[in-house]
Protein backbone atom coordinates (compact mmCIF):
# COMPACT_ATOMS: atom_id res chain seq x y z
CA UNK A 1 0.00 0.00 0.00
CA UNK A 2 1.35 3.39 -0.94
CA UNK A 3 1.07 6.46 1.25
CA UNK A 4 -1.55 8.18 -0.89
CA UNK A 5 -3.62 5.03 -0.80
CA UNK A 6 -3.36 4.85 2.97
CA UNK A 7 -4.36 8.47 3.38
CA UNK A 8 -7.32 8.02 1.04
CA UNK A 9 -8.52 4.92 2.87
CA UNK A 10 -8.04 6.72 6.20
CA UNK A 11 -10.09 9.70 5.02
CA UNK A 12 -12.93 7.46 3.89
CA UNK A 13 -12.94 5.49 7.14
CA UNK A 14 -12.86 8.70 9.20
CA UNK A 15 -15.74 10.20 7.23
CA UNK A 16 -17.75 6.99 7.51
CA UNK A 17 -17.18 6.88 11.26
CA UNK A 18 -18.18 10.53 11.63
CA UNK A 19 -21.33 10.01 9.64
CA UNK A 20 -22.26 6.91 11.64
CA UNK A 21 -21.19 7.91 15.14
CA UNK A 22 -21.74 11.66 15.45
CA UNK A 23 -25.56 11.39 15.32
CA UNK A 24 -25.33 9.13 18.39
CA UNK A 25 -23.57 11.88 20.35
CA UNK A 26 -24.95 15.14 19.01
CA UNK A 27 -28.45 15.73 17.76
CA UNK A 28 -29.10 18.23 15.03
CA UNK A 29 -32.08 20.51 15.41
CA UNK A 30 -32.89 21.47 11.82
CA UNK A 31 -34.98 24.45 12.87
CA UNK A 32 -32.61 25.83 15.51
CA UNK A 33 -31.94 29.53 15.15
CA UNK A 34 -29.59 31.39 17.48
CA UNK A 35 -29.06 34.85 16.03
CA UNK A 36 -26.70 35.89 18.85
CA UNK A 37 -24.26 33.27 17.59
CA UNK A 38 -24.73 34.07 13.88
CA UNK A 39 -21.78 34.34 11.49
CA UNK A 40 -19.06 33.47 13.99
CA UNK A 41 -15.69 32.48 12.59
CA UNK A 42 -14.02 29.16 13.42
CA UNK A 43 -13.29 28.89 17.15
CA UNK A 44 -12.84 26.17 19.75
CA UNK A 45 -16.57 26.06 20.45
CA UNK A 46 -17.41 26.00 16.74
CA UNK A 47 -14.39 24.61 14.83
CA UNK A 48 -16.05 25.34 11.46
CA UNK A 49 -17.80 28.52 12.66
CA UNK A 50 -21.53 29.21 12.57
CA UNK A 51 -23.85 30.08 9.68
CA UNK A 52 -26.05 33.11 9.13
CA UNK A 53 -28.64 31.96 11.66
CA UNK A 54 -26.13 30.75 14.24
CA UNK A 55 -26.09 27.00 13.54
CA UNK A 56 -22.86 25.08 14.07
CA UNK A 57 -21.34 24.41 10.64
CA UNK A 58 -19.36 21.34 11.74
CA UNK A 59 -22.41 19.49 13.01
CA UNK A 60 -24.43 20.46 9.96
CA UNK A 61 -21.60 19.35 7.64
CA UNK A 62 -21.59 15.90 9.23
CA UNK A 63 -25.37 15.64 8.90
CA UNK A 64 -25.19 17.08 5.40
CA UNK A 65 -22.62 14.48 4.40
CA UNK A 66 -24.98 11.84 5.76
CA UNK A 67 -27.86 13.09 3.63
CA UNK A 68 -25.69 13.54 0.54
CA UNK A 69 -24.07 10.11 0.96
CA UNK A 70 -27.43 8.43 1.38
CA UNK A 71 -28.86 10.11 -1.71
CA UNK A 72 -25.65 9.43 -3.61
CA UNK A 73 -25.75 5.73 -2.69
CA UNK A 74 -29.40 5.30 -3.61
CA UNK A 75 -29.02 7.23 -6.86
CA UNK A 76 -25.90 5.27 -7.79
CA UNK A 77 -27.69 2.01 -7.03
CA UNK A 78 -30.68 3.02 -9.16
CA UNK A 79 -28.59 4.13 -12.12
CA UNK A 80 -26.25 1.12 -12.03
CA UNK A 81 -29.18 -1.29 -11.73
CA UNK A 82 -31.02 0.27 -14.67
CA UNK A 83 -27.76 0.43 -16.63
CA UNK A 84 -26.89 -3.21 -15.91
CA UNK A 85 -30.31 -4.44 -17.01
CA UNK A 86 -30.15 -2.33 -20.18
CA UNK A 87 -26.56 -3.29 -20.97
CA UNK A 88 -27.17 -6.99 -20.31
CA UNK A 89 -30.28 -6.99 -22.49
CA UNK A 90 -28.48 -5.19 -25.30
CA UNK A 91 -25.40 -7.39 -25.12
CA UNK A 92 -27.15 -10.72 -24.58
CA UNK A 93 -29.94 -10.29 -27.12
CA UNK A 94 -27.95 -8.42 -29.76
CA UNK A 95 -29.53 -7.51 -33.09
CA UNK A 96 -32.42 -5.07 -33.12
CA UNK A 97 -32.75 -4.92 -29.32
CA UNK A 98 -29.08 -3.97 -29.07
CA UNK A 99 -29.41 -1.27 -31.69
CA UNK A 100 -32.54 0.22 -30.13
CA UNK A 101 -31.07 0.27 -26.62
CA UNK A 102 -27.79 1.80 -27.77
CA UNK A 103 -29.62 4.52 -29.72
CA UNK A 104 -31.59 5.32 -26.55
CA UNK A 105 -28.26 5.52 -24.70
CA UNK A 106 -26.94 7.92 -27.35
CA UNK A 107 -30.11 9.95 -27.05
CA UNK A 108 -29.81 10.27 -23.28
CA UNK A 109 -26.14 11.16 -23.59
CA UNK A 110 -26.79 14.01 -26.00
CA UNK A 111 -28.75 15.97 -23.40
CA UNK A 112 -26.33 17.46 -20.86
CA UNK A 113 -26.89 15.58 -17.59
CA UNK A 114 -27.27 18.53 -15.28
CA UNK A 115 -29.75 20.24 -17.61
CA UNK A 116 -31.80 17.06 -17.88
CA UNK A 117 -31.67 16.73 -14.11
CA UNK A 118 -32.80 20.34 -13.74
CA UNK A 119 -35.63 19.63 -16.16
CA UNK A 120 -36.87 16.66 -14.15
CA UNK A 121 -36.57 18.34 -10.77
CA UNK A 122 -38.27 21.51 -12.04
CA UNK A 123 -41.31 19.60 -13.19
CA UNK A 124 -41.58 17.27 -10.21
CA UNK A 125 -41.12 19.71 -7.33
CA UNK A 126 -37.73 19.56 -5.60
CA UNK A 127 -37.44 16.57 -3.25
CA UNK A 128 -35.10 13.71 -2.47
CA UNK A 129 -37.09 11.42 -4.79
CA UNK A 130 -36.83 13.90 -7.66
CA UNK A 131 -33.08 14.21 -7.14
CA UNK A 132 -32.62 10.43 -7.07
CA UNK A 133 -34.80 10.08 -10.16
CA UNK A 134 -32.94 12.79 -12.02
CA UNK A 135 -29.52 11.29 -11.26
CA UNK A 136 -30.71 7.75 -11.90
CA UNK A 137 -32.36 8.62 -15.20
CA UNK A 138 -29.35 10.50 -16.53
CA UNK A 139 -26.53 8.22 -15.43
CA UNK A 140 -27.61 4.69 -16.22
CA UNK A 141 -26.06 5.08 -19.68
CA UNK A 142 -22.48 4.84 -18.39
CA UNK A 143 -23.14 1.53 -16.65
CA UNK A 144 -25.12 0.28 -19.66
CA UNK A 145 -22.16 0.94 -21.99
CA UNK A 146 -19.67 -0.77 -19.69
CA UNK A 147 -21.87 -3.82 -19.13
CA UNK A 148 -22.71 -4.18 -22.81
CA UNK A 149 -19.11 -4.06 -23.97
CA UNK A 150 -18.13 -6.61 -21.31
CA UNK A 151 -20.97 -8.90 -22.37
CA UNK A 152 -19.84 -8.64 -25.99
CA UNK A 153 -16.34 -9.83 -25.09
CA UNK A 154 -17.77 -12.53 -22.82
CA UNK A 155 -20.01 -13.83 -25.59
CA UNK A 156 -16.97 -14.67 -27.68
CA UNK A 157 -15.42 -16.81 -24.91
CA UNK A 158 -15.37 -20.62 -25.31
CA UNK A 159 -17.13 -21.36 -22.01
CA UNK A 160 -20.17 -19.47 -23.21
CA UNK A 161 -20.20 -21.48 -26.44
CA UNK A 162 -19.89 -24.62 -24.35
CA UNK A 163 -22.83 -23.60 -22.15
CA UNK A 164 -25.01 -22.79 -25.14
CA UNK A 165 -24.20 -26.02 -26.98
CA UNK A 166 -24.80 -27.83 -23.71
CA UNK A 167 -28.37 -26.61 -23.92
CA UNK A 168 -28.33 -23.77 -21.38
CA UNK A 169 -31.15 -21.28 -21.80
CA UNK A 170 -30.38 -17.63 -22.47
CA UNK A 171 -31.42 -16.69 -18.97
CA UNK A 172 -29.17 -19.33 -17.47
CA UNK A 173 -26.20 -18.12 -19.51
CA UNK A 174 -26.85 -14.59 -18.30
CA UNK A 175 -27.21 -15.65 -14.69
CA UNK A 176 -24.50 -18.27 -14.42
CA UNK A 177 -21.91 -17.06 -16.90
CA UNK A 178 -22.33 -13.36 -17.55
CA UNK A 179 -23.29 -11.92 -14.17
CA UNK A 180 -20.39 -13.38 -12.12
CA UNK A 181 -17.91 -11.97 -14.63
CA UNK A 182 -19.69 -8.65 -14.73
CA UNK A 183 -19.82 -8.16 -10.97
CA UNK A 184 -16.37 -6.53 -10.55
CA UNK A 185 -17.14 -4.10 -13.38
CA UNK A 186 -20.56 -3.33 -11.94
CA UNK A 187 -19.03 -2.83 -8.51
CA UNK A 188 -16.42 -0.45 -9.88
CA UNK A 189 -19.08 1.46 -11.82
CA UNK A 190 -21.15 1.81 -8.65
CA UNK A 191 -18.20 3.03 -6.61
CA UNK A 192 -17.39 5.64 -9.24
CA UNK A 193 -21.03 6.62 -9.52
CA UNK A 194 -21.43 7.53 -5.84
CA UNK A 195 -19.25 10.68 -5.87
CA UNK A 196 -20.82 11.68 -9.15
CA UNK A 197 -24.31 11.28 -7.71
CA UNK A 198 -23.28 13.31 -4.65
CA UNK A 199 -21.97 15.98 -6.97
CA UNK A 200 -25.33 16.09 -8.77
CA UNK A 201 -27.30 16.29 -5.56
CA UNK A 202 -25.16 19.16 -4.30
CA UNK A 203 -25.28 20.98 -7.63
CA UNK A 204 -29.08 20.75 -7.78
CA UNK A 205 -29.47 21.76 -4.14
CA UNK A 206 -27.01 24.60 -4.65
CA UNK A 207 -29.15 25.93 -7.50
CA UNK A 208 -32.18 25.77 -5.19
CA UNK A 209 -33.60 22.82 -7.14
CA UNK A 210 -32.68 19.96 -4.86
CA UNK A 211 -33.62 19.12 -1.32
CA UNK A 212 -35.90 21.33 0.81
CA UNK A 213 -33.86 24.38 1.91
CA UNK A 214 -34.05 23.81 5.67
CA UNK A 215 -32.53 20.32 5.38
CA UNK A 216 -28.81 20.13 6.14
CA UNK A 217 -27.35 18.84 2.88
CA UNK A 218 -23.97 19.82 1.53
CA UNK A 219 -25.47 21.59 -1.49
CA UNK A 220 -28.00 23.50 0.61
CA UNK A 221 -25.24 24.55 3.00
CA UNK A 222 -23.04 25.91 0.20
CA UNK A 223 -26.09 27.74 -1.13
CA UNK A 224 -26.75 29.24 2.32
CA UNK A 225 -23.08 30.07 2.71
CA UNK A 226 -23.01 31.87 -0.63
CA UNK A 227 -25.45 34.43 0.75
CA UNK A 228 -23.22 35.49 3.62
CA UNK A 229 -20.01 35.17 1.56
CA UNK A 230 -20.02 38.81 0.46
CA UNK A 231 -20.16 39.78 4.12
CA UNK A 232 -16.87 37.94 4.61
CA UNK A 233 -18.25 34.64 5.98
CA UNK A 234 -16.09 32.15 4.10
CA UNK A 235 -16.39 29.19 6.49
CA UNK A 236 -20.09 28.52 5.90
CA UNK A 237 -19.43 27.60 2.25
CA UNK A 238 -15.78 26.46 2.39
CA UNK A 239 -16.22 23.53 4.80
CA UNK A 240 -19.27 21.91 3.19
CA UNK A 241 -17.42 22.01 -0.14
CA UNK A 242 -14.34 20.39 1.41
CA UNK A 243 -16.57 17.53 2.48
CA UNK A 244 -17.63 16.97 -1.12
CA UNK A 245 -14.04 17.23 -2.32
CA UNK A 246 -12.49 14.87 0.26
CA UNK A 247 -14.53 11.69 -0.33
CA UNK A 248 -14.50 12.25 -4.11
CA UNK A 249 -10.73 12.62 -4.16
CA UNK A 250 -10.21 9.66 -1.81
CA UNK A 251 -12.38 7.39 -3.94
CA UNK A 252 -10.63 8.44 -7.15
CA UNK A 253 -7.19 7.81 -5.59
CA UNK A 254 -8.26 4.34 -4.46
CA UNK A 255 -9.78 3.49 -7.83
CA UNK A 256 -6.65 4.72 -9.60
CA UNK A 257 -4.45 2.44 -7.50
CA UNK A 258 -6.85 -0.44 -7.98
CA UNK A 259 -6.72 0.05 -11.74
CA UNK A 260 -2.93 0.22 -11.73
CA UNK A 261 -2.84 -3.03 -9.85
CA UNK A 262 -5.40 -4.71 -12.09
CA UNK A 263 -3.52 -3.56 -15.15
CA UNK A 264 0.20 -3.47 -14.29
CA UNK A 265 1.24 -3.09 -17.91
CA UNK A 266 -0.17 0.41 -18.18
CA UNK A 267 1.76 1.47 -15.14
CA UNK A 268 5.07 0.02 -16.21
CA UNK A 269 4.63 1.69 -19.58
CA UNK A 270 4.22 5.03 -17.89
CA UNK A 271 7.28 4.48 -15.77
CA UNK A 272 9.58 3.56 -18.62
Amino acid sequence: MRTSERIAAGVLVALALAVLLVPLVAQLDQQLVDLRAANQGPSLAHPFGTDEVGRDVLLRVVYGLRVSLLIGLVAALVSVTVGTVAGLTAGALGGAADRVIMRVVDGFNSVPHLLFGIFIVALFSPSATAVVASVGLTHWTTAARIVRSEVLTLRARPFVDAAISGGSSRLRVVRRHFLPHLLPHIALASVLMVPHAIWHETALSFLGLGLPPHLASLGNMINDGARSLLAGNWWASLFPGLFILLPTLAISVLVQHWRDRANPRRRSELQL
Binding site: P112, F116, L123, A203, L207, W234, S237, L245
Partner: protein, 327 residues
Amino acid sequence: MTRALARMAVWRLVFTVPLLFAVTLGMFALAKASPFDPVRQYLGDRAVVTSPEVVAQIRENWGLDRPVAEQYLTWLGNLVQGDLGDSRSMHRPVAEVIGERIGWTLLAVSCALVLMLLVSLAVGALAAWRRDSWLDRLISGTAYANEAAPVFWVALIVIWVFAVQLRWLPPGGLTDPAATTLEAGDVLRHMILPVAVLAFSQSSWLLLFVRESLIATLREDFVLGARARGLRERTVIVRHALRSALLPFITLLGARIPELVTGAILVESVFSWPGVASASVQAALAADFPLLAALTLLATLAVVLGNLLADSAYVIADPRVRVLGVS
Protein backbone atom coordinates in the same frame (compact mmCIF):
# COMPACT_ATOMS: atom_id res chain seq x y z
CA MET B 1 -11.49 13.34 -48.29
CA THR B 2 -14.14 16.02 -48.75
CA ARG B 3 -16.55 13.38 -49.98
CA ALA B 4 -16.04 11.14 -47.00
CA LEU B 5 -16.38 14.13 -44.73
CA ALA B 6 -19.57 15.32 -46.40
CA ARG B 7 -21.05 11.85 -46.23
CA MET B 8 -20.33 11.59 -42.53
CA ALA B 9 -21.75 15.06 -41.88
CA VAL B 10 -24.93 14.31 -43.81
CA TRP B 11 -25.39 11.00 -41.98
CA ARG B 12 -24.95 12.69 -38.64
CA LEU B 13 -27.44 15.40 -39.51
CA VAL B 14 -29.94 12.81 -40.72
CA PHE B 15 -29.68 11.13 -37.32
CA THR B 16 -30.04 14.45 -35.54
CA VAL B 17 -33.61 15.00 -36.69
CA PRO B 18 -35.12 11.88 -35.06
CA LEU B 19 -32.98 12.54 -32.00
CA LEU B 20 -34.40 16.02 -31.56
CA PHE B 21 -37.90 14.64 -32.07
CA ALA B 22 -37.25 12.04 -29.40
CA VAL B 23 -36.01 14.76 -27.02
CA THR B 24 -39.13 16.89 -27.62
CA LEU B 25 -41.34 13.85 -27.07
CA GLY B 26 -39.50 12.95 -23.86
CA MET B 27 -39.74 16.49 -22.52
CA PHE B 28 -43.42 16.74 -23.38
CA ALA B 29 -44.19 13.40 -21.74
CA LEU B 30 -42.35 14.51 -18.59
CA ALA B 31 -44.22 17.80 -18.55
CA LYS B 32 -47.56 16.02 -18.89
CA ALA B 33 -46.66 13.55 -16.14
CA SER B 34 -45.62 16.34 -13.80
CA PRO B 35 -47.98 17.47 -11.03
CA PHE B 36 -47.49 21.13 -11.97
CA ASP B 37 -50.50 22.93 -13.33
CA PRO B 38 -49.19 25.65 -15.64
CA VAL B 39 -52.33 27.77 -15.26
CA ARG B 40 -52.09 27.73 -11.48
CA GLN B 41 -48.39 28.46 -11.81
CA TYR B 42 -49.16 31.40 -14.10
CA LEU B 43 -51.81 32.84 -11.81
CA GLY B 44 -49.77 32.40 -8.65
CA ASP B 45 -51.55 33.85 -5.62
CA ARG B 46 -54.39 35.04 -7.82
CA ALA B 47 -55.37 31.41 -8.44
CA VAL B 48 -57.43 31.45 -5.23
CA VAL B 49 -59.53 34.44 -6.20
CA THR B 50 -59.82 33.81 -9.96
CA SER B 51 -63.20 32.49 -11.02
CA PRO B 52 -63.31 29.00 -12.52
CA GLU B 53 -64.66 30.47 -15.80
CA VAL B 54 -61.56 32.58 -16.25
CA VAL B 55 -59.32 29.60 -15.46
CA ALA B 56 -61.24 27.55 -17.99
CA GLN B 57 -60.83 30.36 -20.50
CA ILE B 58 -57.06 30.41 -20.00
CA ARG B 59 -56.92 26.63 -20.34
CA GLU B 60 -58.81 26.92 -23.59
CA ASN B 61 -56.60 29.75 -24.86
CA TRP B 62 -53.50 27.68 -24.13
CA GLY B 63 -55.08 24.62 -25.71
CA LEU B 64 -54.78 22.63 -22.47
CA ASP B 65 -58.30 21.22 -22.88
CA ARG B 66 -57.32 19.38 -26.08
CA PRO B 67 -56.17 15.77 -26.25
CA VAL B 68 -52.53 15.30 -25.22
CA ALA B 69 -51.43 14.09 -28.66
CA GLU B 70 -52.94 17.16 -30.27
CA GLN B 71 -51.23 19.44 -27.73
CA TYR B 72 -47.90 17.80 -28.53
CA LEU B 73 -48.38 18.13 -32.28
CA THR B 74 -49.41 21.78 -31.96
CA TRP B 75 -46.37 22.53 -29.83
CA LEU B 76 -44.08 20.60 -32.17
CA GLY B 77 -45.59 22.31 -35.23
CA ASN B 78 -44.94 25.71 -33.64
CA LEU B 79 -41.36 24.70 -32.78
CA VAL B 80 -40.67 23.57 -36.34
CA GLN B 81 -42.01 26.86 -37.64
CA GLY B 82 -39.68 28.69 -35.29
CA ASP B 83 -42.32 29.74 -32.78
CA LEU B 84 -40.82 28.78 -29.42
CA GLY B 85 -43.78 30.04 -27.42
CA ASP B 86 -43.84 32.52 -24.54
CA SER B 87 -41.72 32.29 -21.44
CA ARG B 88 -44.14 32.15 -18.53
CA SER B 89 -41.66 33.40 -15.97
CA MET B 90 -40.18 36.27 -17.97
CA HIS B 91 -43.48 37.11 -19.73
CA ARG B 92 -41.79 37.48 -23.10
CA PRO B 93 -41.39 35.34 -26.21
CA VAL B 94 -38.83 32.57 -25.63
CA ALA B 95 -37.02 33.44 -28.86
CA GLU B 96 -36.51 36.99 -27.59
CA VAL B 97 -35.14 35.79 -24.24
CA ILE B 98 -32.71 33.40 -25.93
CA GLY B 99 -31.71 35.93 -28.59
CA GLU B 100 -30.87 38.48 -25.93
CA ARG B 101 -28.88 36.09 -23.74
CA ILE B 102 -27.12 33.68 -26.08
CA GLY B 103 -24.50 36.24 -27.10
CA TRP B 104 -23.30 36.60 -23.51
CA THR B 105 -23.05 32.84 -23.09
CA LEU B 106 -21.16 32.39 -26.34
CA LEU B 107 -18.80 35.21 -25.42
CA ALA B 108 -18.01 33.81 -21.97
CA VAL B 109 -17.77 30.19 -23.13
CA SER B 110 -15.55 30.87 -26.13
CA CYS B 111 -13.17 33.02 -24.07
CA ALA B 112 -13.07 30.26 -21.45
CA LEU B 113 -12.34 27.64 -24.12
CA VAL B 114 -9.43 29.61 -25.58
CA LEU B 115 -8.00 30.27 -22.12
CA MET B 116 -8.42 26.64 -21.12
CA LEU B 117 -6.67 25.39 -24.27
CA LEU B 118 -3.71 27.70 -23.91
CA VAL B 119 -3.22 27.13 -20.21
CA SER B 120 -3.68 23.39 -20.15
CA LEU B 121 -1.44 22.89 -23.19
CA ALA B 122 1.34 24.92 -21.64
CA VAL B 123 0.98 23.58 -18.10
CA GLY B 124 0.38 19.99 -19.22
CA ALA B 125 3.48 20.08 -21.42
CA LEU B 126 5.47 21.55 -18.55
CA ALA B 127 4.36 18.75 -16.23
CA ALA B 128 5.24 16.09 -18.80
CA TRP B 129 8.63 17.61 -19.51
CA ARG B 130 9.52 17.83 -15.82
CA ARG B 131 7.95 14.47 -15.06
CA ASP B 132 8.02 13.29 -11.42
CA SER B 133 9.51 16.54 -10.16
CA TRP B 134 7.83 18.50 -7.38
CA LEU B 135 6.42 20.79 -10.08
CA ASP B 136 4.78 17.87 -11.86
CA ARG B 137 3.38 16.59 -8.56
CA LEU B 138 1.97 20.01 -7.76
CA ILE B 139 0.38 20.38 -11.20
CA SER B 140 -1.10 16.88 -11.35
CA GLY B 141 -2.25 17.05 -7.74
CA THR B 142 -4.05 20.34 -8.34
CA ALA B 143 -5.62 18.93 -11.49
CA TYR B 144 -6.92 15.84 -9.67
CA ALA B 145 -8.28 17.94 -6.82
CA ASN B 146 -9.87 20.30 -9.31
CA GLU B 147 -11.59 17.35 -10.97
CA ALA B 148 -13.12 16.40 -7.64
CA ALA B 149 -14.06 19.93 -6.59
CA PRO B 150 -17.54 21.20 -7.48
CA VAL B 151 -17.19 24.18 -9.80
CA PHE B 152 -19.76 26.28 -7.92
CA TRP B 153 -17.70 25.88 -4.76
CA VAL B 154 -14.49 26.87 -6.55
CA ALA B 155 -16.37 29.89 -7.90
CA LEU B 156 -17.37 30.92 -4.38
CA ILE B 157 -13.79 30.63 -3.13
CA VAL B 158 -12.58 32.70 -6.06
CA ILE B 159 -15.25 35.35 -5.33
CA TRP B 160 -14.20 35.46 -1.71
CA VAL B 161 -10.50 35.88 -2.55
CA PHE B 162 -10.67 38.28 -5.49
CA ALA B 163 -13.90 40.19 -4.86
CA VAL B 164 -14.34 40.22 -1.10
CA GLN B 165 -10.80 40.15 0.28
CA LEU B 166 -8.64 41.73 -2.41
CA ARG B 167 -11.46 43.78 -4.00
CA TRP B 168 -9.76 43.53 -7.38
CA LEU B 169 -12.75 42.42 -9.39
CA PRO B 170 -16.55 42.57 -9.10
CA PRO B 171 -18.26 39.47 -7.61
CA GLY B 172 -20.82 39.10 -10.38
CA GLY B 173 -23.22 40.60 -12.87
CA LEU B 174 -22.55 41.97 -16.33
CA THR B 175 -21.96 45.64 -15.54
CA ASP B 176 -21.60 47.89 -12.58
CA PRO B 177 -24.98 48.25 -10.78
CA ALA B 178 -24.76 52.02 -11.27
CA ALA B 179 -23.89 51.82 -14.95
CA THR B 180 -26.57 52.92 -17.39
CA THR B 181 -24.79 51.96 -20.60
CA LEU B 182 -22.89 48.89 -21.71
CA GLU B 183 -19.19 49.67 -21.76
CA ALA B 184 -16.62 47.22 -23.04
CA GLY B 185 -14.16 47.85 -20.22
CA ASP B 186 -16.81 47.36 -17.56
CA VAL B 187 -18.09 44.12 -19.13
CA LEU B 188 -14.51 42.90 -19.48
CA ARG B 189 -13.84 43.43 -15.79
CA HIS B 190 -17.01 41.51 -14.90
CA MET B 191 -16.06 38.76 -17.30
CA ILE B 192 -12.64 37.90 -15.91
CA LEU B 193 -13.71 35.85 -12.89
CA PRO B 194 -16.47 33.75 -14.54
CA VAL B 195 -14.31 33.05 -17.59
CA ALA B 196 -11.32 32.11 -15.45
CA VAL B 197 -13.37 29.80 -13.22
CA LEU B 198 -15.06 28.12 -16.19
CA ALA B 199 -11.70 27.64 -17.93
CA PHE B 200 -10.08 26.32 -14.75
CA SER B 201 -12.90 23.88 -14.05
CA GLN B 202 -12.73 22.47 -17.57
CA SER B 203 -8.96 22.40 -17.79
CA SER B 204 -7.91 19.49 -15.58
CA TRP B 205 -8.92 16.61 -17.86
CA LEU B 206 -7.18 18.25 -20.81
CA LEU B 207 -4.10 19.06 -18.76
CA LEU B 208 -3.82 15.50 -17.49
CA PHE B 209 -4.49 14.20 -20.97
CA VAL B 210 -1.77 16.39 -22.51
CA ARG B 211 0.63 15.29 -19.80
CA GLU B 212 0.06 11.58 -20.25
CA SER B 213 -0.10 11.73 -24.00
CA LEU B 214 3.11 13.73 -24.16
CA ILE B 215 4.92 11.39 -21.79
CA ALA B 216 3.98 8.49 -24.05
CA THR B 217 5.02 10.37 -27.18
CA LEU B 218 8.35 11.46 -25.73
CA ARG B 219 9.39 7.79 -25.79
CA GLU B 220 8.69 7.38 -29.50
CA ASP B 221 11.49 6.93 -32.00
CA PHE B 222 10.87 10.12 -33.90
CA VAL B 223 11.40 12.13 -30.72
CA LEU B 224 14.62 10.26 -30.08
CA GLY B 225 15.53 11.01 -33.70
CA ALA B 226 14.82 14.69 -33.27
CA ARG B 227 16.94 14.79 -30.13
CA ALA B 228 19.71 12.83 -31.84
CA ARG B 229 19.77 15.42 -34.61
CA GLY B 230 20.63 17.92 -31.89
CA LEU B 231 17.42 19.94 -31.99
CA ARG B 232 16.69 22.22 -29.10
CA GLU B 233 14.56 20.72 -26.32
CA ARG B 234 11.83 23.29 -26.90
CA THR B 235 11.63 22.44 -30.57
CA VAL B 236 11.48 18.75 -29.80
CA ILE B 237 8.64 19.21 -27.32
CA VAL B 238 6.57 21.77 -29.15
CA ARG B 239 7.13 20.91 -32.81
CA HIS B 240 7.52 17.16 -32.68
CA ALA B 241 6.06 15.55 -29.57
CA LEU B 242 3.17 17.87 -28.73
CA ARG B 243 1.89 17.83 -32.28
CA SER B 244 1.56 14.10 -32.38
CA ALA B 245 0.28 13.86 -28.83
CA LEU B 246 -2.58 16.23 -29.58
CA LEU B 247 -4.38 14.24 -32.26
CA PRO B 248 -6.92 12.39 -30.11
CA PHE B 249 -7.61 15.48 -28.09
CA ILE B 250 -9.60 17.07 -30.90
CA THR B 251 -12.26 14.38 -30.59
CA LEU B 252 -12.17 14.56 -26.82
CA LEU B 253 -12.84 18.26 -26.93
CA GLY B 254 -16.00 17.84 -29.00
CA ALA B 255 -17.19 15.12 -26.67
CA ARG B 256 -16.81 17.45 -23.70
CA ILE B 257 -19.60 19.81 -24.76
CA PRO B 258 -22.04 18.35 -22.17
CA GLU B 259 -19.55 19.12 -19.38
CA LEU B 260 -19.08 22.59 -20.82
CA VAL B 261 -22.84 23.18 -20.72
CA THR B 262 -22.94 21.92 -17.11
CA GLY B 263 -20.04 24.20 -16.17
CA ALA B 264 -21.69 27.16 -17.88
CA ILE B 265 -24.97 26.60 -16.01
CA LEU B 266 -23.24 26.61 -12.63
CA VAL B 267 -20.74 29.38 -13.31
CA GLU B 268 -23.32 31.69 -14.88
CA SER B 269 -25.60 31.12 -11.91
CA VAL B 270 -22.93 31.88 -9.32
CA PHE B 271 -21.74 35.02 -11.10
CA SER B 272 -25.26 36.15 -12.15
CA TRP B 273 -24.01 36.23 -15.72
CA PRO B 274 -27.05 37.00 -17.92
CA GLY B 275 -26.58 34.12 -20.37
CA VAL B 276 -28.81 31.30 -21.56
CA ALA B 277 -27.28 28.80 -19.15
CA SER B 278 -28.34 30.73 -16.05
CA ALA B 279 -31.73 31.33 -17.70
CA SER B 280 -32.31 27.57 -17.59
CA VAL B 281 -32.02 27.65 -13.80
CA GLN B 282 -34.39 30.61 -13.56
CA ALA B 283 -36.82 28.83 -15.87
CA ALA B 284 -36.58 25.68 -13.75
CA LEU B 285 -37.19 27.56 -10.51
CA ALA B 286 -40.37 28.99 -12.04
CA ALA B 287 -41.34 25.69 -13.76
CA ASP B 288 -41.34 27.65 -17.02
CA PHE B 289 -41.76 24.78 -19.47
CA PRO B 290 -41.55 26.65 -22.84
CA LEU B 291 -38.25 28.34 -21.96
CA LEU B 292 -36.74 25.27 -20.29
CA ALA B 293 -37.73 23.05 -23.22
CA ALA B 294 -36.24 25.45 -25.77
CA LEU B 295 -32.99 25.69 -23.80
CA THR B 296 -32.75 21.92 -23.45
CA LEU B 297 -33.21 21.53 -27.20
CA LEU B 298 -30.57 24.18 -27.77
CA ALA B 299 -28.11 22.33 -25.52
CA THR B 300 -28.84 19.03 -27.26
CA LEU B 301 -28.18 20.65 -30.61
CA ALA B 302 -24.89 22.03 -29.26
CA VAL B 303 -23.83 18.54 -28.12
CA VAL B 304 -24.67 16.99 -31.49
CA LEU B 305 -22.86 19.73 -33.39
CA GLY B 306 -19.89 19.38 -31.06
CA ASN B 307 -19.64 15.68 -31.84
CA LEU B 308 -19.92 16.39 -35.55
CA LEU B 309 -17.23 19.06 -35.47
CA ALA B 310 -14.96 16.81 -33.44
CA ASP B 311 -15.29 13.94 -35.88
CA SER B 312 -14.78 16.19 -38.90
CA ALA B 313 -11.73 17.77 -37.34
CA TYR B 314 -10.34 14.32 -36.68
CA VAL B 315 -10.88 13.25 -40.27
CA ILE B 316 -9.08 16.36 -41.48
CA ALA B 317 -6.24 16.16 -38.96
CA ASP B 318 -5.41 12.46 -39.11
CA PRO B 319 -4.63 11.09 -42.56
CA ARG B 320 -4.90 7.52 -41.23
CA VAL B 321 -8.61 7.95 -40.55
CA ARG B 322 -9.03 9.29 -44.07
CA VAL B 323 -7.23 6.49 -45.81
CA LEU B 324 -8.85 3.71 -43.83
CA GLY B 325 -12.22 5.42 -44.01
CA VAL B 326 -12.94 4.86 -40.35
CA SER B 327 -15.44 7.65 -40.09
